[in-house]
Amino acid sequence: MSATDTSRRRFLTGAAAAAAGLAVAPGVFLMPLAQARRAGEPASSDVRWGLLVDTTRCSDGCDACVRACKEENGWEGVGRPRTDAQWIRKVKVRDPRTGHTQSLPLMCQHCKHPPCVDVCPTAASMKRADGIVLVDKHVCIGCRYCMMACPYKARSFIHEDVHDQRAHAPRGKGTVESCTLCVHRVDAGRVPACVEACAAEGGGALVFGDLKDPSSEISRRLAAHGAEEIRADLGLDTGVRYYGI
């Protein structure tokens, strides 16, 4: 077992202790998920970050995750829905035969075989070692081929000038962007803003964690109940999975 692994386990043990401690001090809950990577250490392919959406806990009308993402990453639009960015959106799915409806958040699925990365001419679209798919805006030329290639319409092109960006989420006109899985938080050992918000104000439908660690909560849930990929037929092996669709 690698050193990273060991330290993560050790950390999680601590987390369990923290959670246990919560029982004695209700009202306060710290949400640890992973350990912050040490300074100077690159993202590792021993980890693959993933997100599980339990659609049975997600309700139409709740958009806590979307609001949290907007605030966290500063992509509040200017009131032009056609061109405003949308990193994450709530989608309502209705089966016309039965009338059964569901609601779920849709964002970049952090594909293992991402078409956006394959088509990007400058390699601005990239997948980090830990599976997070990002746009390197330093080299994005705004050709939008990745948007044509993404099956989930997960990407937005920035159609106009942006000011007052969040310091950790640079974004600017003429480049393409999408959900970063809150990479700045994840690197610091925190969970994405949507997950936090869903737990706090929503239905607690989102579980974030390491798909490669069999003891992570997300892995255990997946092992216990399974989950689907949207458009699994495309074989992209998405990092975001949906339970109950």
């Binding site: 009202g27 912050a36 300074a39 960006q165 969040r166 310091a167 990479v183 690197d187 610091a188």
Partner: protein
């Protein structure tokens, strides 16, 4: 739309000016040295002389390390540059890159070097209140407290060592 046309008009006018300037360049008057606003910190990550000549190389190198390889906590961070160097004059808001009082802007105007950084990056420190998403606490835990209900929802996390 009015603002829009004005903006394009300004750009076109600028273009025309540049073209004119190129045609008939007046005898260069001495450009005054930039007045750099005072920095907050005690000292820079490198001696001033080194920074002056090499800051772009440092930033360029580290940007790839940070973004593409996920290496955090490097020595040269644009964000830290701004934290120290972009300071407010008493009674004024923090200057943006568009203002000659902005640290980066002051020098880059003087040297006539066009930079791209602030077409995407925030050009000044974030206000204290907005820093919840900022640098993580050292212990890797979020500082935010959540209601007890959360625990119920997530279920207890039991992990074997």
């Amino acid at each position: 739309m009015r603002g829009v046309t004005a903006k394009t008009g300004r750009a076109l006018a600028l273009l025309a000016l540049v073209a004119l300037g190129a045609m008939a360049r007046p005898a260069a008057a001495e450009v005054p040295k930039p007045k750099l606003p005072p920095a907050k910190g005690e000292k820079c990550v490198e001696p001033t002389e080194v920074m002056r000549r090499k800051h772009m190389a440092y930033l360029l190198h580290q940007r790839d390390d940070t973004l593409r390889r996920g290496i955090r906590g490097g020595k040269y961070s644009l964000r830290e540059c701004l934290e120290c160097h972009v300071t407010a004059q008493p009674g004024k808001p923090l200057p943006t890159y568009g203002s000659p009082e902005h640290f980066c802007s002051a020098c880059h105007r003087y040297a006539a070097v066009h930079i791209d950084c602030f077409s995407c990056h925030r050009d000044r420190p974030e206000p204290e209140a907005a820093r919840a998403g900022g640098p993580a606490p050292a212990d890797g835990l979020t500082g935010r407290t959540l209601p007890a209900r959360t625990l119920k929802v997530l279920g207890p996390v039991e992990v074997k060592p």
